[in-house]
């Protein structure tokens, strides 16, 4: 079964791990998640169990588990006849997800004000500084990853584990859209300003202000994403 072993241009080493090894399903889910987020597998594309398993060098059994995981995360959908495909959320669906994300981050901000250790808040401020410096720099992916990490750090600082986990799921669902939006490079200054407001409120441990700042930030995100995707829709393939 060497049929499509080179699909996705995987080097064999990509699938080697050190002990204690996680299950192949978890590894496959990680790989597929990355492929989906980076659009190496395009939105809406069918995911053939046999071909994909072969491409990853595993059997269908762990691959199917990976698909179940990604379905729960909202990155994979099933047709009525149970054919798995990469999720392709509409702008409306993305907006709905972003509203939930906003509520989650607002709660995280409130909790962080009450429970976060000084170091956690310092780390958030530090990440903000780094992002600010990168403002001049034009590497979109690095800027974006730092942005994501700052949000993730705030949520983790809340000390609420299920909250962090749910936030991670929504992050995965929204990653691609947010990256597209971020790459547009529009509103980067606004992003930094809003981050500054968040850091200020968080440092003052003002729950209401922190929550408000995070909500504002997410509202901007919704706006920017809508603009970016509509722009993109009009220019399908550059």
């Amino acid at each position: 079964m060497e049929k499509k072993a080179d699909l996705f241009n995987l080097k064999p080493d990509d699938l080697s791990w050190d002990l204690p090894r996680p299950t192949l399903a978890a590894v496959a889910a990680d790989k597929l998640r990355e492929f989906i987020l980076l659009e190496k597998i395009p939105p809406g594309a069918f995911i053939s169990e046999r071909d994909t398993a072969a491409a990853l060098g595993i059997s269908r059994t762990p691959l199917r588990s990976a698909l179940v995981i990604l379905e729960q995360e909202g990155l994979v959908d099933y047709t009525p006849t149970r054919r798995p495909k990469v999720a392709d959320p509409s702008i409306k669906e993305l907006a709905q997800n972003l509203l939930v994300m906003g509520a989650l981050e607002a709660l995280a901000g409130e909790l962080a004000c009450r429970h976060a250790r000084k170091e956690d808040i310092a780390r958030v401020a530090q990440l903000h500084e780094k992002i600010n410096q990168r403002g001049r720099n034009d590497d979109p992916l690095a800027f974006f990853r730092a942005d994501m990490r700052m949000h993730e750090t705030i949520v983790n600082a809340s000390g609420n584990i299920p909250l962090a986990e749910t936030h991670r799921q929504y992050n995965a669902r929204l990653w691609r859209a947010r990256f597209i939006s971020s790459r547009r490079n529009a509103g980067r200054q606004q992003t930094c300003d809003e981050h500054a407001a968040i850091v200020k409120a968080l440092s003052a441990r003002d729950p209401r202000a922190t929550a408000a700042a995070l909500r504002t930030h997410l509202a901007s995100a919704i706006h920017n994403i809508k603009a970016a995707l509509q722009e993109r829709q009009e220019t399908p393939n550059p």
Copy 2:
């Protein structure tokens, strides 16, 4: 393999369905979820793949998929050596989950004020009335289910699909604890009063008041659950 076919005292008919049949994994997940919520499988108990699959009359393959689903829902945990067991959240973990639930319901309330149709709000009010009448009635499960349905209706009225889905997951995680709390029958009057406040704010389509009422209601839930579980912890098996 007739070894433990009578585990859980399942009649064979319990596992028959009409066309078009969902996957065995989904059916098994539904069954197991119910077993876990009703404590037919006690918290902390190991879930042997072979025995459980045999008990449900299916093979390990769909059973494993079901376990993956329930893991994502937070009803099943895995030991470091990957033995699946029924989750047994601590009071602290339950409180963390309830905080998230509160944020989700508050958001749902706000959105429902803006987007819900008249009929949706009427249905919430109607459910509230029914619950109020049952206040005299002493059937805890019926009272509880009606309570859950009212919350579910509010969330659905928000029109936000991912929000409803995430809320459903948190509901599953918290179901058992809330049922135990509800069964104690304490604070039932307070519950109805808080429901009344929610219905009033929702009927007035006042987002802030609705969100506040829902937050208050969830805060009461946290309080009651803590009391009920601590009480129960002191009296392990009556």
